[in-house]
């Protein structure tokens, strides 16, 4: 799938840039990237400064943080969550697995990478990426608006 085309303007764009709520979704990762995402949300980095909040449901999400190769089992769930998200909603692939399947490329259980299934705006490589890299990736995603 190609990239999203988010064309927002004026006050809508400002609101979206200042208040991106993220939803965290693991599609068969080894949990390492997920822990780094949680680290990025701790008081040490204080993402609420930029209005970034972790939300529990894709209905409230503006950015989907997807980790992991998409496994056969995770595929319908990933599609479901993407369809549930209220648009405009951006996709961010976090970690080597989500970007390119990493060392699991070609495995019998692998459907991914993520951009084959849902539109991805920003790729954050690393195994796992540091919290700083995740924050920088989210900022780049917002700069695309």
């Amino acid at each position: 799938m190609g990239n999203n085309n988010h064309r927002l303007s004026g006050i809508k764009k400002w609101g979206f840039k200042k208040s991106p709520w993220v939803f965290h979704l693991s599609t068969g990762s080894c949990n390492n990237c997920d822990i780094e995402i949680l680290d990025a949300l701790t008081p040490r980095f204080d993402l609420e400064r930029f209005g970034i909040l972790l939300v529990g449901t894709p209905r409230h999400a503006d950015i989907l943080l997807v980790t992991g190769v998409v496994t056969v089992q995770a595929l319908p769930r990933l599609l479901h969550v993407y369809e549930q998200a209220a648009k405009p909603c951006m996709g961010v692939a976090i970690g080597a697995c989500a970007c390119s399947c990493g060392i699991f490329d070609g495995g019998y259980h692998v459907v991914g990478p993520v951009d084959k299934i849902i539109p991805v705006d920003v790729y954050i490589p690393g195994c796992p990426p540091k919290p700083e890299a995740i924050i920088s990736g989210v900022v780049k995603a917002l700069a695309k608006l």
């Binding site: 927002l8 006050i11 809508k12 400002w14 609101g15 979206f16 200042k18 208040s19 008081p43 204080d46 609420e48 400064r49 930029f50 209005g51 939300v55 529990g56 449901t57 209905r59 409230h60 503006d62 549930q84 209220a86 648009k87 405009p88």
Partner: protein, 309 residues
């Protein structure tokens, strides 16, 4: 209570009503988030953060889930929203023009203050989501828990002032005899009870049992997105401003004075501190807390008021 058409519009939409309450409410939620952040040794969001959240939600898609009851699902946010605007207008108008108050508006305000909780119950039940349904059932239980104590606390004031049930009358009584809080032990007890019930009525930790994002995702809000979610956020923010103002009207003379800012800030910081140092109660714990100690306390208050203390 209103006289002229154009001024009615102004009162309802601009000054004590919609616009004023929205701005004050959103700034209060910012204070909440900022103070919480400072308590957790963080910097916290900038002052315009709640405004950005609402503007963003207004620009997003509003999804109606498949199988949900469309009408109830869409009407639910607006029930609570309208109720809070009306409460804010009635309470402020009674403060600014004591003559504009009508007999029994205290009772009207109490009934209108039920509506945000009822809106949540409708929303949770209409959204065809197990988390929403669970949240609705919890909200119902919570309502049953705190409402009795809160009602007795409010009626302590009525008993104490000899049966005046209009806000203007209560304000007039306070203007003549001093603030209710200075009228003896019964009113102080009643005020403490309202302070204990306030986080429950506002759905703030330790009583965010219905929303419980760690267990129920977002409870009744789970299926809401875009504009409908924005209306819910606004309702919550406005209630955070309106409810303390209503309580100050009952207990602390009048809110039409600069001292109100200090009083309101004290109540807000109290709520925020309670929020930050307490974990969430289970629903049965909350029920036990409100039905035994808190209701006992408010009954004690009303008995003391009846014997004249």
């Amino acid at each position: 209570m209103f006289t002229h058409g154009a001024m009615d519009f102004f009162y309802l939409i601009i000054f004590p009503g919609f616009a004023f309450t929205v701005v004050a409410g959103l700034l209060s939620t910012w204070v909440d988030r900022k103070v919480s952040a400072r308590i957790q040794w963080r910097v916290g969001p900038p002052w315009y953060q709640p405004f950005a959240d609402v503007i963003k939600l207004m620009g997003k898609e509003s999804i109606i889930p498949e199988g949900a009851n469309r009408v109830s699902f869409l009407i639910a946010p607006f029930i609570g929203f309208t109720a809070v605007i009306l409460v804010s207008t009635i309470v402020w108008m009674a403060n600014i023009f004591p003559g504009a108050s009508f007999v029994g508006d205290l009772i009207v305000v109490i009934y209108l203050l039920y509506l945000p909780a009822i809106a949540l119950i409708v929303a949770g039940s209409a959204s065809r989501n197990p988390f929403g349904a669970l949240g609705a059932s919890r909200e119902m239980n919570l309502m049953l828990a705190y409402e009795a104590a809160l009602l007795f606390a409010v009626f302590t004031v009525v008993v104490k002032n000899g049966g005046i049930i209009s806000l203007g009358g209560i304000l007039g009584y306070q203007a003549a005899h001093g603030a209710m809080l200075s009228q003896g032990a019964s009113c102080i007890i009643a005020f403490v009870v309202t302070l204990l019930c306030m986080p429950a009525k506002l759905g703030i930790v330790p009583f965010d049992i219905a929303e419980a994002e760690t267990e129920l995702i977002a409870g009744p809000y789970t299926e809401y997105s875009g504009v409908t979610l924005a209306i819910f956020k606004l309702t919550k923010a406005m209630l955070l401003f309106t409810l303390p103002i209503f309580m100050l009207t009952l207990f602390a003379k009048t809110v039409w004075t600069p001292w109100t800012i200090l009083w309101y800030a004290l109540i807000l910081v109290f709520i925020i501190l309670v929020k930050n140092v307490n974990p969430r109660f289970r629903i049965d714990q909350a029920l036990r807390l409100f039905w035994l100690p808190v209701l006992g306390l408010s009954l004690l208050g009303i008995i003391l008021a009846a014997v004249g203390l």
